[in-house]
Symmetry: C2
Amino acid sequence: MRNYIIGIDIGGTSIKFGKFDLEGNLLDKWTIPTNKENLGESILTDIARSISENQALNTIKGIGFGVPGPVKHDVVISCVNLGWGRKHIVDEFKAIINDPEIKVKAANDATIAAAGEMYKGIARGYKNVALFTIGTGVGGGIIVNKALVEGVNGVGGELGHIPVDFKHNFKCNCGNLGCLETVASATGIINIAKENLRKSKAKSLLRRFNTFSAKKVIDYAKEGDFIAKKSLEESMRYLAQAMAAITYTIDPEIIVIGGGVSNAGPYIIELIEKYYYEMVKPFITQANFAIATLGNEAGIYGCCYLVK
Amino acid sequence: MRNYIIGIDIGGTSIKFGKFDLEGNLLDKWTIPTNKENLGESILTDIARSISENQALNTIKGIGFGVPGPVKHDVVISCVNLGWGRKHIVDEFKAIINDPEIKVKAANDATIAAAGEMYKGIARGYKNVALFTIGTGVGGGIIVNKALVEGVNGVGGELGHIPVDFKHNFKCNCGNLGCLETVASATGIINIAKENLRKSKAKSLLRRFNTFSAKKVIDYAKEGDFIAKKSLEESMRYLAQAMAAITYTIDPEIIVIGGGVSNAGPYIIELIEKYYYEMVKPFITQANFAIATLGNEAGIYGCCYLVK
């Protein structure tokens, strides 16, 4: 009997595994380190070995992968973090495990996280979801009519690269200027705070540090520090601008915010709502923002959804 | 035998009718004036009468409506152009024609136009389409996996209201500032050209006029007039910015441009591509832009698609 599903969220430093029953209940989880040597050539065999060590292959119905890069039709377009270029991840993995009865699928990790939140998290019951994961960068996932949106080039849901800023010219990891990620990620919040500290002579608790985290900016903003508050508001205004663009495109039922910055909770949502409503008020009277609830398990739940 | 479909594109000045066979071939078309008196209360009875005069009801399989305002689940959310507020257009129309065998559906007119281009126009064969109709305003339609995207508030595809401009502060018909429509519609092109004429002392053929059309700006831009070219480029850069946001959200297979401004043809597409690639180049090497081919018949074709 094939009664189990394995969800595998491949990250740049570790690979998360989840073992699920067919109803999507998480029964067990573990991680292994990501071996990026030789352009990540051993990652798939490492994964196959780890699965075999934990669960007999002939009891597994499906295996889903989340990959930190664009994926289209089960093919990784590119994945700098793992050392991969274009990679037929599903075909290669099937050749390794050599069990044609196991369904194998792959998708982008943030899109997978959106699916996870829809399957077992805060977006449960919704069919149309936008997810922003705001950490060091900004990831995103889009779901329309319960289907993960990959897009023709695999960049559907790459929300961190929506062009929003033509003022600061911070450089993005992708090579462009002005991406949402450069102004609204943890890095972006720091970028803007540093710039405001430079440009202004106002007192600020942030001036006590040479370097500081986005959490510091958020904490001081909550306490009313002028520069911290102004900076965070500026960041959240850019985020709201991207959210408004998404609303006028697919008008999702729920916009979910995950990642480290979402730990700031309702305070962040209040700021976003303030600017978001300014931009959509002729059309939208009631938006639906929520903080993600599955944390870093959203990915493995989404992988499970992919092959269930 | 019910062998016909009627597509009805309701505009602010006239109502376009198309009679189709079941394969979507346009057999006949006609228009009647839009009677907006008393908040457009006679529009649906006018339409029912006009259909009966042209085609026996018991030969009709389906009737589809395109409406110039947000529509959700066959209910018009609001439609200022026709004098309508929230209106159960499909239920009301079914009560008027009183023939339960006729399938009746309604959707936003620009979304319908996108469906028309997918059904019988330039986007034939594609499943994921973004359409911009650039005329006096900017309309839009989004199709994901062959389904029209209405969104939870009915504003899916309201691409003209994507916030893109935080510099000029032109006011949009919706009441907001900075919508795509204020800078990239025919009106928007004129807005920007006038501002550039005011701010610059450069010579321009446009200075011969008190008022001028977007077509004049485009024609003079083609001829190399500095102000006209700079203005049109600025407008098309905003359009490219909105298109990049859509790409990073749903990454459509084709982006179709219709409406009066699209008559400028390949010249417009070249300008858009220049700025679009700047914003998506880390991810997209080959975009797919096209000029709409069905002109103002896209709507009736889309209405046919809706009920076929």
